[in-house]
Symmetry: D2
Subunit: 141 residues, 4 copies
């Protein structure tokens, strides 16, 4: 699926570097979030519209393998893939490149769906069948 | 007044540095917030108890003059002073030192008081006279 | 001059918000840096090329007035102006808007020029006359 | 071993929260770094002294499972354990609690040792046998 979705791209900011002269490892987790939000827009399920439905999608797990450093002012490309979605959980995978093709990190994030009002898990298939079908279709492709 | 309140102190974190090898200038604004929250506890007006009253205290202005760099693992001392308080606005001043006595920054932050529910300014003297008197007394000392 | 330089623009990231539901005030200082770096590229004096000359340009002062909150996923526009430049110091001013025209903050940052090797101030007019003339011309326009 | 080393502890800062009202997940990675630096001091191998030997210890992998949210002003306790060390790689594990005993996250970070000058891996056993023995002893205990 990810082949059809264009990667997220932006420049490395100065304040993202640390005294080693490279992007601090914690900032990759933030870049993943940016790329995920961008991906959700591109598949027509923008996060703000999920919020408006009273749903929040917290991160339950994150992992990142750092392969190469990222430097200030480099262009980042993040290829995002929705690896798993079953209406209760979602797993995204990420490949973070320095443009054009230096692979810098491989990562994954897991998420659940929570009804904000009750703070209880929500089953997207039952609660929001249209959105569920829309996303399931993408995962199957 | 500040002479009676002990300074806020902690170590500089690695992730606060940037590629110049020193604490990034934006992080001073965060350190000011930490020191302000610590100060509010020390004068017995902790921010969480203000939040519980339905009040938020946003920053309306901030300025910071950077005199000397701060380095990783240095001990920071922040002397906070409540420079002005009239129940509608509050102004804090800060002196940020590297232990024991290298002055690294002088800063100020201005704040207003907002009722969270209505998003309207609140006059602390009228709405919370006890807390108002408690703080006014400190400023006068 | 700023009228000729297009504003810096990007979307507010989720991780830039705080528990008040708006962009945390310290992040404006970071957004200013992003906008300044973008501006320097647009006037053909990119910061990485200054670094390659062995010069660093630390922030000596920053101030920011917060007028309106910025919300997650809003489009930011930052209009940057090089207010003052004399080869020893530079002052930038910033207007931060939520698209299209809600003014959220007014800010300024002051900078000096330091030779990295010696950690001493450098006079750009003497050390790098071509770059100096290039920038001076822009300020005068 | 971790039982003998006191946990790292500090208060959650306001700026660490996001619009969900809890500590943003990327900040756990930073808290892990703080706790790891604190741990290294406690086992008498402070990171600054490693830096002075010309060695840097980048993160090669990080993972974090989020079990419970952390809230503003809560007291964090981080129990760190040096799970593996062989002179070429080191793996730390972390348990992040909200005081006194609410387990909020379980995490791990992997690291290698790089000679800063050459940017090449360094074998601590050969290059710094005393430090190697000092750390190996701790892992075995």
């Amino acid at each position: 699926m990810s082949e059809k979705i264009s990667p997220y791209s932006r420049t490395v900011y100065f304040y993202e570097t640390d005294k080693m002269g490279v992007v601090h490892h914690a900032n990759y987790i933030r870049i993943m979030e940016e790329a995920r939000m961008d991906f959700m827009k591109k598949i027509a399920v923008p996060y703000p519209s999920i919020e408006q439905m009273g749903i929040v999608v917290p991160v339950t797990k994150v992992d990142c393998s750092y392969l190469q450093p990222l430097y200030f002012d480099e262009r980042i490309l993040v290829y995002v893939n929705l690896k798993m979605f079953n209406g209760v959980r979602a797993v995204y995978s990420y490949e973070i490149y320095a443009e054009p093709d230096r692979l810098c990190a491989r990562a994954e994030s897991s998420h659940c769906f929570i009804k904000e009002e009750t703070n209880m898990p929500v089953h997207m298939k039952r609660a929001f069948p249209d959105m569920y079908e829309q996303v399931i279709k993408l995962v199957k492709e």
